[in-house]
Structure formats: C-alpha cells, structure tokens
C-alpha cells in the first residue's frame, strides 16, 4: 500500500470516502493516537479496523464483515495511516511543549474539511 504523504492528497481521499468510511477513519485514527506504539503492527491495525467497522454498520455475519473489509479496508486503512502520519508531522512543533491525543484528534478533524472551506481559503 502506497502511503499518503501530502496534505492535498489526504484531503482529497478523505472527501471521497462515504460518511460511513469517514466514521471508521475517525474512530480508527483516535485509537491509533492512543496506541501510537502499535501503529506498525499491521495485524493489530487490521483487527482494530474490523472492530471499528462493526460498530459503524450493521453486519449480521462474519462473512459480511469480511466482505466489507475486502471492499473498503484498503482505502480506509490508507487514509487512516496517512492521516496519522501527517498529523504526527503537524504536531512535531508541539513535542517539547507537550500535547494530548485529544489535541492530535482535533488536528486530524481539520483534514475532513475540504480545502476550499478552510478558514484561510480564498
């Protein structure tokens, strides 16, 4: 999976996701911020995705959930990991001062706003 490393691509990919997938990205990235040491454990991240996805929608069976994961997992995980990485960069200047996972989450939420609707947009 190719990582998202620039902000415009991230905003664009997040805006293309359906509301349900945006919810999963939001839930998943919140978990990653609180468990940053596990973000490289792809199996754990995939498991968290499956769990968060279950709450976001109504699945009656494990095969249904697996079908959803096959269809949407790659895009959601790519956006989530891109968001985690870029928010991490954004928060770098605050490392000395210290910041919380809530601060990081607030920054993450700004990426769900289309670029042309940002406060400083022309």
């Amino acid at each position: 999976m190719e990582a998202i490393t620039d902000r415009e691509t991230l905003r664009s990919e997040l805006s293309r996701l359906a509301h349900r997938e945006q919810r999963v990205v939001g839930g998943l990235v919140a978990i990653l911020f609180r468990n940053a040491q596990r973000v490289r454990d792809r199996e754990w991240v995939a498991q968290q995705f499956a769990h968060v996805a279950q709450l976001s929608g109504e699945f009656d069976t494990v095969p249904q959930l697996e079908g959803y994961a096959d269809a949407h997992g790659p895009a959601v995980l790519r956006a989530t990991l891109g968001l985690f990485g870029l928010v991490g960069q954004d928060m770098q200047p605050l490392v000395d001062k210290g910041f919380t996972s809530e601060d990081a989450m607030a920054q993450a939420m700004t990426y769900f706003v289309p670029a042309d609707q940002l406060p400083n947009a022309n």
């Binding site: 997040l14 509301h19 939001g26 919140a30 769990h51 968060v52 494990v62 939420m109 769900f112």
Partner: protein
C-alpha cells in the same frame, strides 16, 4: 460532543445496564474521567465471565445509542466514532478478557453488537433511552432516584 448526543450516549449506557441487571447509581454528563465526556456508574451482582459480558454490552451501548440518535447523515461523520475511544478501550479490554484468542474476538463482538441492536431497536427501550437522555440533558447528572423516575 454536543450535549444532546452525549445525553443519548450516556442514557444508552444507563438503560442497557439496568436491563442487564445492573444498578445504576449515577449517570452524568460532567465526568472528568480521562477520555470520557460523561460517565455512568453501575454496581453489579454478577461476576467473572457473566460480568464481563454484561459490561461489554454496556460499554458498546453508549456509542450505539448515540449513532441511533444521530442517524446516517451528520456534518462531521469522522467525529462520531472518534468520540467514543474511551468506551472502545474498555470494550477491547473486556473482549480480551472474554476471548483470549484474538482471531475469535470479531465473532464475539458481532454477537454483542447484534444483541444490543435488537435491544436498542425495541421501541420500548428506545423510548426509555429518550426519556433518560432528555432528563439527563436538563439536569446534567441523575442519581439512582431520578433515573428510576425516568425508567
């Protein structure tokens, strides 16, 4: 989280805890617990696996009730699931306690959510959650007596 959504969230915890045999001694929108905007304090007479199974469903009931209230179309969908990370951590810990084999946790979570959705979608239960949420939104905190008056 906005107050009405948060009230539905906490009401979901409180009503489901009551239905599963817990004694809710307090539910509040004014919690200072880390990662929580609100809090429901429940006393249980269960133990071991039975207790963990009940607590798992109560932990998940808040987010589900909130989602039920919000519906599918919200302005900031990403904020919805992000707001319940405290509940999620509790649910994850309980899942791990109930099912040591990680690969089997998905099925267990699915069972818990299916049971919960059936419960919450019962019109009588939805009405109870709505009553508790409305009163909680007005008062900020409900003790056992005030809660009993809503149920």
């Amino acid at each position: 989280m906005d107050e009405p959504e948060q009230a539905w969230h906490e009401a979901g915890h409180a009503v489901v805890a009551t239905l599963l045999g817990g004694e809710v001694v307090c539910v509040t929108l004014e919690s200072d617990l880390d990662g929580h905007d609100g809090h429901a304090e429940v006393h249980w007479r269960l133990a071991g696996g039975e207790l963990a199974w009940a607590q798992l469903r109560v932990a998940l009931a808040g987010p589900l009730a909130e989602l039920d209230y919000r519906g599918q179309d919200v302005d900031q969908p990403a904020e919805v699931l992000a707001a319940w990370r405290g509940d999620w951590e509790e649910a994850e810990a309980l899942l791990a306690q109930l099912e040591p084999v990680e690969a089997r946790r998905e099925a267990l979570l699915l069972r818990a959510l299916t049971e919960l959705r059936e419960l919450i979608e019962d019109p009588a239960v939805t009405e109870r959650i709505a009553r508790v949420a409305e009163t909680l939104d007005a008062h900020g905190t409900l003790d056992a007596e005030l809660l009993a008056g809503c149920l």
